[in-house]
Symmetry: C2
Subunit: 354 residues, 2 copies
């Protein structure tokens, strides 16, 4: 397969971890006979420094022309801590998501057996946890009409959804469930919210076209409990923007390390892959950042294009690194391995047959 | 002190646990020389059976005339599972909250050292956890305008708050923090929501009148993480209705048993106290329901009227029961102690001097 990949390393540790993801994709290219063409472009603080714009036109154009975007991280304290600064690195990411129409945020939550003791939850609660959250990313209350009364005493936000917005992400989630354990849980608050009742009607109707997928409903307050009490019950969770924001962040701590968590943001014709961790400026250039979240984001990229076997090879190699203790100091304070050691180990074992 | 208390035992295990809370209040009456006058009235399924109305006029009138309402539990499968039934037990509770203007829901989350192993979280994460959530209960998106387009393709809900709605609960939360560890955390999503920015402005301004209380701000998605990662950092959490719904349910699982968790709902001139657990119909009449949540709700009632010493005596006696293993089978499957045994033990040790 030929793929044009826009490489947006961004700020802080972004370039270091993205470089290791690229190394792994190149190893896949070689082992499986694909052709991946990487083109690098600036985004975030580094783009502001160079052009004054966190998302330069050339970068956006490149992303639109590419099959996928591989994203590092974004953010720099010199802008974040300056209340005067009108342009912020994060705006680059928000605008990119919007311009590419990335309406579906996909966040896997998986507990790695070798790291189970790092979780704040007891081992027996989280064993076999392996679910993925499909969060609607461009609608709902974050984007609905805002209002502030003239006297400043009353404020409101509108949570609004259309059938089309719900339908397009629901199909993605059902398809994902079909390829997994065939269970989809719609999280809403349909006992109180009109918009949730629309979600329930639309998703229920779409569910009829996926008869092999079991559809469950859960109220968001109960979901917040169940995610702690019994996270292994979930397979695919589908939910609206704000509920997804809260639940995917809650879910991100189950595994015990944010340095392992990848994500994808998918639209009709574009897809972007990035670790959920930030730019971690304190670690920049120290060769201590954990590249695994970025490498697993690359695995999600492969998966997105139907390269299941290739994605599985990357995940297998990551597991090998974890098992052998080939990890950065965030996972093992005694480890002397750097970002590049871990990345090279994983890239180097992708073609292993075991 | 003289107090008129409306006793609304409700359905299922409600009457059994409420009876033990009354026994404890009567022990306080005697030990500390107070006069509590209890008047019982029906609410919920039992009220529907008797009058067709889940909140009969006489019950509402009694609550309005009383200093406080002690509530058991509500709900019966014969109504809950009947989609045809127009009147539901829960409507009684919702209407009661509204009629009494109970705008502030108060949910303590406390880890009992003797039960720490029941938590889904690791011991070292939850030691010393002791916080209380102040959730706004009558405003926000659950009560804002709802909309469904004529073609049924678009639906919306409005999250709206006024300064007055925020101000009245903020004062309660600051006062609570003053009497505790003097830390208040406002949970919002002020980086995105206009209503959250109003919360932040109002609460920040009110905070100036409570200079000894440290005010912190936390986004709701981060709060959902922090509650698992490090729950002992919190003292008083203040938040709007829906965030409070999600976070208080998430918080309710930290302690490991829902049978221990009390709550209060407070307004300008009324206050209601109830366990957070439901009517648990399967356990009704079996003398196995845990009365501690109801008894701790009675302790919150005492606290509400400034009877700190009395409230502390109840809590001390509950701790004694937990320590001695005088608990119902939900906490210790081998226990032979019934609801009444546990209640009588706690009531019987309220006047202990140690
Ligand atoms: Mg978030
Ligand atoms: Mg709830």
């Amino acid at each position: 397969m030929k793929l044009k990949i826009a490489l947006l390393p961004g700020d802080g540790i972004g370039p270091e971890v993205a470089a290791q993801a690229v190394a792994c994709l190149q190893a896949v290219e070689e082992a499986f006979g694909h052709q991946f063409e990487f083109t690098k472009a600036p985004v975030g603080a580094i783009a502001i420094d160079q052009t004054g714009n966190p998302l330069p036109d050339d970068t956006l154009e490149l992303c639109k022309q590419s099959d996928a975007v591989l994203f590092g991280a974004i953010g720099d304290p010199k802008y974040d801590n300056d209340p005067e600064s009108k342009v912020r690195p994060e705006q680059g990411l928000l605008r990119l998501r919007k311009e590419l129409g990335l309406f579906s945020n996909i966040r896997p939550v998986k507990v790695f057996p070798t790291l189970i003791d790092k979780s704040p939850l007891r081992k027996e609660r989280i064993e076999n946890t392996d679910f993925v959250i499909y969060r609607e990313l461009t609608g709902g209350i974050y984007f609905g009409e805002k209002f502030l009364s003239e006297d400043g005493n009353t404020a409101s936000d509108l949570c609004i959804y259309s059938e089309e917005e719900i339908s397009r992400i629901a199909h993605l989630a059902f398809k994902a469930a079909k390829g997994r354990r065939k269970k989809l849980t719609l999280v809403d608050k349909a006992n109180v919210l009109e918009s949730s009742r629309l979600w329930r009607r639309v998703v229920t109707r779409i569910g009829e076209s996926y008869p092999d997928v079991e559809l469950h409903y859960l109220f968001v307050d109960n979901a917040a409990m169940q995610m702690i009490l019994n996270p292994s019950q979930f397979d695919v969770i589908l939910t609206e923007n704000m509920f997804g924001d809260i639940l995917s962040d809650e879910g991100s701590v189950i595994g015990g390390s944010i340095g392992l968590l990848p994500s994808a943001s998918v639209g009709e014709s574009s897809a972007m892959f990035e670790p959920i961790h930030g730019s971690y400026p304190q670690a920049t250039g120290k060769n201590i950042a954990n590249p695994i979240a970025s490498i697993l984001s690359a695995a999600m990229l492969l998966d997105h294009f139907g390269l299941d076997e290739e994605a599985a090879a990357v995940v297998r190699s990551v597991n090998k690194a974890l098992k052998k203790g080939m990890v950065t100091p965030d996972l093992d304070p005694k480890s002397k391995h750097g970002t590049d050691d871990v990345g090279q180990f994983i890239a180097g074992h992708i073609s292993d047959s075991d």
